[in-house]
Amino acid sequence: MALGSRDETGRTASYADPVTSALALELNEVTVSLGGRHVLDRLTFSAATGEITALLGPNGAGKTTAVRCVTGMLAPESGTVRVLGGLPGRTNQRLGLMPQSVGAWSAVRPGELLRYLASLYPNPRPVGELVSALALAPLLDRPYRRLSGGEQQAVNLAGALIGRPELVLLDEPTAGMDPHARRRTWDVIGGLRADGVAVLLTTHDMDEAARLADRVWIMDAGRVSVSGTVAELTADASLEDVFLRHTGGAA
């Protein structure tokens, strides 16, 4: 299929052939209203096993709301959500979430937080393995509130991965990270793909999305406006140009 965008019915055309890998996540025509406003408006997208899927969109496009539908925090008014073959909230033992907001008690120490989260899963990763991969050792005994934003993000990422998830939801995973930490995080996310994990990544960093993602869905005003592989989307423009062209505020 050729490069496309929203048609006259408001539905989204895709650059790419349908995903052929096993789908870890499917949202189909999902609508959510909050405060009388359609935050998600017939949102449809999917994420495949062993792939990194980027969900991009301007602030307020509905990305975090979509993630909350996946974890079962929000129930759609209409449409369907399938998570690892089951209903949202019923497969959370196989899910890892790195929330956009803080996600931890202010007084907790990262070591305590990770051990606590590990205790919730039947077969968690060893904490030391993640501490080493994300260079968290110097942070383990400091109260969470004393960590920088990037350090908190690294701890949050470790928390998302501690339960050996099959689907990982990463909401702005490298926001506030220095270049060293960002590279380490990219390596870890790349390793997840190699291990067959499905990764759903939301980010405002177009370079990050272009570097990591296998497939990109760009959202605007609660629905997908364009989608495809990175190669397809960037055939004649940068991902940032494609983003600007298909989201509110484009010239």
Binding site: T71, G72, M73, Q93, V102, G103, A104, W105, L117, G163
Partner: protein
Amino acid sequence: MLLRNGEQLLLTFAIPLGLLVGGLIWGAGFGLDPVTFPASVVAVATWSTAFTAIAVGTGFERRYGVLERLVATPLTRADLIAGKALAACALVAIQAVLLIAAATGLGWRPVWSLAGASSAALGTLLGIAAFAGLGLLLAGTLKAEVTLALANLVYLAGLTLGGLLLDQAPVLPTAALGSLMREAANGAAAPLALLILAAWAAALTLLARRYFRWTS
């Protein structure tokens, strides 16, 4: 986490213990009944933990995204609420043991009866449910900072005007718990106060269940 939060320690242990010791040493001059006053302080401790600590703690857990993170683990929402309820019950039990031990050491001798003890135990459980319901209602509908301010204000109002320490008609849940605890210290059950408290517990937990939002 509680032990690392100075304000919560103050509410949970320092204020009830200070009230108890001060009341038993100097309260006679102000007309406080030395038999019922320690029971009133146990009601205050229940109010501190089940309302204020739960409201403030949960409000900030919601604001910081802790609830959102935990709901995306094998824990269910019911697990989280049950965990909070168990923690509140355990903490109130520790407070009660400490307060009763301190009061006994200062010469407190309540009138023992099975009916009174059962009424106090059931009333405390119902009080925890009612106060926690109110705390979760605030924490789940308001911003964390507003919850913090309002919970402290309501705590002080309940302490001074709500019938926890001084007798008044058992209309409010605080007055019902204070009243039945004082009755228990005199060896009597208080079925009307228990009924009123049960109605508050049912209403407030239902309201919390209906309106609590897990994300901020």
